[in-house]
Amino acid sequence: MSTQQLIESLTADQLKKTLPAMHVGDTVNVHFRIVEGDKERTQVFQGVVLAKKGRGINQMMTVRKIVDEVGTERQFPVYSPMISKFEIIRRGDSRRAKLYYLRDRTGKSRRLRDRRRALGKVGVTKAGGKSAPSA
């Protein structure tokens, strides 16, 4: 076992097995648990996945949404136990691994095409095809 595999094996049981296959460009709902004192509530952050970074337990995703015409981004550790639920609302068609150009876009051009329309053309995997995100 290589060192890298050994380190990954330590965190293997913390990886969520049932995450839907998430790609850059998808619109997602992230249900994030917020603990305030002994109270706990869940906040839903809906937005477009701009980027995925890191691998294994270290994977982070950047989600961008527009609040009151102000762009808001939040980075989530994908495998954090604080994420109680994770849904994919819409699959977007992206040809980039990082969609930072969306930050400069306004109005309609901010939207991404639906993945479905581009299927076959770009050779992306079908929606819901895989059970875990590619690490």
């Binding site: 050994l6 380190i7 990954e8 330590l10 965190t11 913390q14 603990v35 495998y79």
Partner: protein
Amino acid sequence: MALMLMGKKLGMTRVYTDAGVNVPVTVIAVGPCVVTQVRTTEKDGYAAVQIAYGDMKPRNSTIPMIGHDAKAGSAPKRFHREFRVRPEEAASFSAGQELDVNALKDQMYVDVIGTSKGKGFQGVMKRYHFKGFFASHGTERKHRAPGSIGGLCSNRGFGGGLKKGKRMAGHMGDQRVTTRCLDVVRIDPEKGLLLVKGSVPGANNGMVQVRPSTRLYKSKTRKVAAAAEKKG
């Protein structure tokens, strides 16, 4: 009881606690270490235990060292270190004895000693966090300079040299560094792994020494006391 083990820094990862808190951890493969010699007050003038760690081809070792390790019934080892024990404790160690990560299983906090990464010859801004000078406003050729190093007679008001220990540019890193009071997050006896919270000195695959914390921070002393009380 005094104790020290050697191991290899494998790398860093993260662990989430049950409460969902992210804990950055360093993975250290601790031991197995062989006790190669027990030094006693009668024979050596002080009590200590010498341990060895890391396999080595005999041809890369030296004849005296091979003989020394063989006396303890061990194959040639790469690293040999000593730790001092109280004279009465020395009897609990014997040459040839193997020490592994289980020896640390009651510890809440450990110190990790390593050799920091070498940075080469560095200026004072990187080495000692000097502030440097303005980027503009008329500054010329002195943006990262240390500034005045003081007069020649500044040590005690006389003398003919600079104050000793004046911080200047020079070699940085590649030094023995101790990180104190790191939380033990997990111990995996099967794989011989120790997970400590935070970073430890040196590059991955570097040799590190691990010992129970010798000087606890105040807050951690309280935690240890609380844990001991709970245990009864």
